[in-house]
């Protein structure tokens, strides 16, 4: 007989094991979906998860997609650890890209070493400004940050649309919805000849290191952890709750803004309508899959980045609709949340007596 018993303490081993289990279950369920759709499951999974990263170019594409996911997820982990539900990173990314793109356009016919740092900084500030809206409304007007940050995603995309169609559109661009090309000094340098991976990856890695340090070596990290466990305890301990809410939103806005910078100053080098394939939303999954741990997030961003590439490859080679990528992402999160059950409960096998 099997009995379900509540654990006295969440199991630490299982804490890090469940993401692996979730990925495995997603593969099984994914194979099943492919089978239902009339594809050979193993072949489809191969095209989805192995073929895209089998060569040098594919691996570079993987890192290219993982970079914004990792960066945003690191930022979000500050929010989620302290119980702030910022789900509008996509908007912060877009607004960061708008601000940094605007600055880059100011310098469009200039070259100089000083341009890129200004452009990058502008992106971070743009993201912070945009994230400060839900943060301030939450702290001073008691407004639900989930809904506000989400509504702002739609607004930011419309602002971008207005700019690239209207005032910022390329005067020599035959009315295409895009801006001028940025000057070379405003672009993040590519790391290898012929590959699209660019210096933005260093921004992500820096964020990983800094966040690890803040989480585990500073008083702020401790405060965030306590507030995440229990807001009452945090209040009792006298933490300045409002300040922290604004701070974590600013950090996560800056990270999303930087991801936006990477998207427009990397291989593309201009602003256009679709700068992000929902990286801001997908990064929420990355943050959870990585267990809000900086190192975990690196691995998680690589895994989830494959779903983007796999969806493209599977569409080209097997005519599998590209939205399977999103389905996989949704499933990963479902299975991850579901397997968290094992954190708090265990199955006890009770030998039946005869």
């Amino acid at each position: 007989m099997i009995k379900i018993v509540k654990r006295d303490q969440p199991s630490r081993a299982i804490f890090f094991f469940t993401p692996v289990l979730a990925i495995f279950l997603t593969l099984v369920a994914g194979g099943l979906i492919f089978f239902i759709l009339g594809f050979k499951p193993f072949e489809a999974l191969k095209f989805f998860f192995i073929v895209p990263i089998a060569d040098k170019y594919g691996f570079s594409e993987l890192l290219l997609k993982a970079t914004p996911l990792c960066l945003i997820a690191i930022g979000l982990s500050f929010c989620f650890k302290s119980n702030n539900w910022n789900i509008g990173a996509e908007g912060q990314l877009t607004f960061g890209a708008i601000v940094s793109g605007g600055v880059a356009l100011l310098f469009y016919e200039q070259e100089g070493f000083y341009i890129l740092p200004i452009v990058i900084l502008a992106g971070a500030i743009g993201g912070m400004l945009y994230a400060s809206i839900p943060a301030i409304l939450k702290t001073y007007f008691n407004t639900n940050e989930i809904l506000v940050s989400l509504m702002l995603v739609y607004v930011s995309k419309l602002i971008l649309d207005y700019l690239v169609v209207g005032p910022w559109s390329n005067p020599e661009g035959f009315n295409f919805p895009e801006t001028r090309q940025f000057s070379d000094s405003a672009k993040l340098p590519l790391l290898f000849e012929g590959l699209r991976i660019h210096a933005g990856i260093f921004l992500a890695l820096t964020a990983v290191v800094i966040s690890w340090f803040v989480f585990y070596k500073t008083y702020l990290g401790f405060q965030m952890k306590v507030s995440g466990f229990s807001l009452k305890t945090a209040k009792y301990a006298g933490y300045k709750g409002k300040k922290m809410i604004i701070l974590v939103f600013l950090i996560s806005g800056a990270c999303a803004g930087l991801a936006g910078v990477g998207e427009i100053t990397g291989p593309i080098g201009q602003l256009h309508r679709e700068i992000s394939p929902d990286y801001g939303f997908t990064a929420i999954i990355v943050a959870f899959l990585g267990r809000l741990h900086p190192v975990g997030i690196i691995f998680a961003s690589l895994v989830v980045a494959i779903t983007y590439l796999g969806a493209e490859t599977a569409q080209i080679f097997m005519q599998i609709p590209k939205y399977t990528g999103q389905v996989f992402q949704g499933m990963i999160l479902f299975f991850l949340l579901a397997s968290d059950y094992l954190l708090f409960f265990k199955f006890k096998f009770i030998g039946s007596k005869k």
Partner: protein, 310 residues
């Protein structure tokens, strides 16, 4: 300039028509939230309803099967949410987000084969009475059955919550699951039922969009309406009648957009499109500013998991 009084009636009717999906989804979510469950997957359930309704209509040719099929699809997809949050005690916010991401993906996957197929005409009721009364004629008559149902729903929901025993149980479970449980109420079962009901209403809201409002399948056609529906529940301070008012305001913003463009007002179209989202934020701020009032009307256990050792 003489403005035809029936024209004003038609504008009001079109505002009401665009309010229908918001009313349906909000009233469903309101019941879910009243039982203490915060389901952020409304957008996902709605889009699943939209594609299911449209696909079933195209494949079977039956409008009735399509409408009920869409509701059933909403129920099925919300079962995942119910199982996770109620049986496996997962976090409501994260699970709801997963539901939305999953729903948008699955709907686009199924919908691939239905892009560009023209919809069917949905029968309207009392068409003949439209011209009998000036102004009121176009408002009252000539709409689909779903339209009339949507405008009755807030009143039914209000009656259900205030006057029926089941409604009382739902409220009790939302306000104090511990005491409800001690009274012998199966909290988990009640919450399951409320989640599935919310799924059905979101599914219906989606079907209204793809079958009646703009009878065709467009990817991501809900365009944030599910999130606005969620905001409406907060706006209403969990009172179904106020959902009606809120939905009309948002419907109005959508319709004004078209007419402003038609008159030739020189405002960028993107600004007008952004208006409903911006107004949602402003309204949320105004409503939530008074934290005491919000705390009094919010179901006390909203978003908190309930686990009983047995």
């Amino acid at each position: 300039m003489i403005i035809d009084i029936n024209f004003i009636g038609l504008i009001i009717a079109s505002i009401m028509a665009s309010a229908v999906p918001l009313i349906l989804a909000s009233c469903g979510e309101l019941i879910t939230e009243r039982s203490g469950v915060l389901n952020l997957g409304v957008e996902g359930m709605m889009i699943i309803g939209a594609i299911s309704g449209f696909a079933l209509m195209t494949v079977t040719g039956s409008l009735i099967i399509a409408i009920f099929g869409a509701m059933l699809a909403g129920v099925l997809i919300s079962t995942i949410f119910a199982f996770l949050t109620q049986t496996l005690i997962t976090n409501h916010v994260a699970t709801g987000l997963a539901l939305t991401i999953f729903g948008i993906g699955i709907s686009a996957m199924i919908g691939k084969n239905f892009v560009g197929i023209p919809g069917k005409e949905f029968p309207v009721l009392f068409e003949g009475f439209k011209d009998t009364i000036p102004l009121l004629g176009p408002i009252l008559f000539g709409h689909s059955i779903v339209f009339y149902f949507a405008f009755a729903l807030p009143f039914i929901t209000s009656y259900f919550l205030k006057k029926t025993k089941t409604g009382l149980i739902v409220r009790a479970v939302g306000d104090s699951p511990e005491s409800a449980s001690n009274q012998g109420i199966n909290v988990r079962l009640v919450r399951y039922a409320c989640i599935l009901y919310g799924g059905a209403m979101s599914g219906l809201a989606g079907a209204y969009l793809s079958m009646i409002y703009t009878p065709q399948w467009i990817e991501n056609m809900t365009g944030g309406r599910g999130w606005i529906a969620l905001a409406l529940v907060v706006f209403s301070t969990w009172n179904p009648i106020k959902i009606l008012i809120g939905a009309m305001i948002f419907g109005g913003l959508t319709i004004i957009q078209f007419h402003m463009q038609a008159i030739g007002v020189r405002i960028p179209v993107q600004f007008l499109t952004a208006l409903p989202y911006i107004v949602t934020i402003i309204v949320l701020v105004v409503i939530s500013r008074d934290s005491r009032k919000i705390r009094l009307s919010t179901p006390s256990s909203l978003g908190k998991s309930f686990y009983k050792d047995n």
